[in-house]
């Protein structure tokens, strides 16, 4: 058969019907595969981080109204692994049995802030972001205050939800 020479197609209606059937069946197979594979690729994106109340410090160890950095040993799932890491949070004792907890992650680009007792601020070493003891932005590029974490006092123990 030479190129350009067409085969006889006696019944173009039937031909169109068969083509449609092929497209439909292959489309169904393709869609099933795409759903299963796409789902498996995208699923972890929607994974929620499981939060737990972690014991962070003894209430007595916190100074009044001053952010105290506390390292909390946290275990979390990282895909197929289990990771243990120390997360630093600032605990501020705001009342006899009231504590607020601030994330130590700068809201600008994710560096770690540290407490500066001299001028009573939390400073970010990366781009000069400055926060006050409540986490509000005082200077620099950070777009919003430091994240507040859930904290509660249970007897003598301060618990933080991470």
């Amino acid at each position: 058969m030479c190129p350009g020479e067409h085969l006889p197609t006696p019944d173009s209606g039937r031909r169109r019907f068969l083509s449609g059937a092929i497209t439909a069946i292959q489309g169904a197979i393709g869609a099933t595969l795409a759903f299963l594979l796409g789902g498996a690729v995208v699923a972890p994106v929607f994974g929620r981080r499981r939060s737990t109340w972690w014991p962070a410090a003894a209430l007595d160890d916190l100074a009044d109204n001053e952010p105290t950095p506390v390292a909390i040993r946290v275990t979390r799932e990282d895909g197929y692994r289990q990771v243990v890491e120390r997360q630093v949070v600032f605990l501020v004792k705001t009342g006899a049995t009231e504590v607020t907890a601030l994330s130590s992650t700068c809201t600008h680009l994710g560096c770690r802030v540290s407490w500066n007792a001299d001028d009573q601020t939390l400073k970010c070493p990366c781009h000069g972001g400055v926060f006050d003891r409540t986490g509000a932005v005082k200077a620099g590029p950070p777009p919003k205050p430091l994240a507040r974490l859930q904290a509660r006092v249970d007897g003598e123990q301060v618990l933080v939800e991470l």
Binding site: A21, Q26, G39, A40, W54, Q82
Partner: protein
Amino acid sequence: MAPLRSFADWLDARTGFRAGRAHLLEEPLPAGVGWWFVTGSILLFLLGVQLVTGVVLTMYYVPSPEHAYDSVRYITDRLVLGRIVRGLHFFGASFIVIAAVVHMLRVVLFGSYKKPREVTWMTGVVLLLLILAFALTGYLLPWDQKAYWATTVTINIARSTPVFGEQVAGVMRGGVDLGALTLLRWYAAHVFLLPAALIGFVVAHIYLMRRHGISGPIAEVEGTPQPFYPYHALKDTIAMAVVFALLLTFAVAFRVPLDSIADPSDATYVPRPEWYFLSLFQLLKYFPGPLEPVATIVIPGLVVGGLLLLPFLDRGPGRHLRQRRLVAAAFVVLGAGVVALTYLGFKDSPAHADPSRWSTLALAGREFVQDHRCQTCHRIGGAANPIADTRVKRDAEWVRLHVTDPEIIAPGTRKPPPGGMTQSQGRAVASYMYKARAGGTAAQIEGEHRTAILVYGRFCGNCHVIDGEGVKQGPDLTRAGEKRDAKWLREWISDPAAIDDLADMPAFNDKLSEEELTAIANYLAARK
């Protein structure tokens, strides 16, 4: 639609894709091409499914002995749809082996390998070997017991190659022992080398098929040729849909097996290959010692050589089986041999301990870790993870030492709980930790059964073995009830010296209560 059409026109003017598509799809097929000729398309489709599911699996799989098992466990148990994707890939491998054999038998049945299609046939035989190589390399990747020990056997078989045996095995192992380097190179072969070779040979195979046209029915059928698309393409498509539905059913309905993690020190594990290698595995049993290369090299070599050379051995023009009695006889003998050996292999294989069934020690270990001494550190916010959330990374020896004397592990860093557990309890906790890592669960135990398991876990596991776990100092108690009844066992455990002066076993009447003695005696007597 108009803008789409004008874009398609523009693209066609630049690329000529319509002519290309027409060339691909409008191949004229001889009249009488029926359902027999869908086998190749099914195979191609299944290979495509393996390719795409394989790519998704590589997004989650880690080819290292430390992580491979956990990553496969993650895919199977926790990744949304992961179980089905792995199922498609796992069962797809078996489907491909079947589809390849069916396709080959179709070609043999129709005499399609004859002149001028000799090279098409030979590329097909190479493709079959590549498919088997995929199966072999993929088998190791989950790094469970089955993977590790089956691969040990595979590499030892390669060692029986005459003259170069050690070198061949060395290249397959990539190191002195089966380990991290082996896993990496088998992974590289499975995801880079073999796919590249497969794609190359598939392209060659299809190109050659198109070059010579398909062989068609044995006896010419009256009628005008019809284009492949849509007349035969619909048959192909329906066949693909049926096979895909079946494959998906398998992937959804059946759990892909995953044993416990590979343990090179476990000498009790008896490996068994995947079913399509079982005939070869069984063949080994009939050629012991110096005759082994007959089973590992000579017979498989003759079969592969015979297949490759088939078009040159059978050169007559007749395609009908009646004109090719020798070929028919050879394939019947080969097929019967493979089927018989596979059957014998299934019958001969030891029944595997079901990995989801927990051993006595593991059940006891699960109870022991509830102990308050463990919870001193293993709790939320404690010095260590709660045990239920801990995935054991250390070897069993470490766990045993840690349980018997927690201070040994981290002397001075924190106050250890007072008093460790017994050696036997250490083994029980280690057994439990490994079971838990393998993702299994077991029903709660209670009553006398629980009492017996706790007694066994506390005292017996350091000298006795049940289901392959423990220490072989005293007799294996897996089937203790076959020889002795509960009454005898109770007397023996109370005071062995009262029955036999030379007994090595210590008396337990001062360590166990009456209920405990009765419970353990009944428990062991029931094991038959």
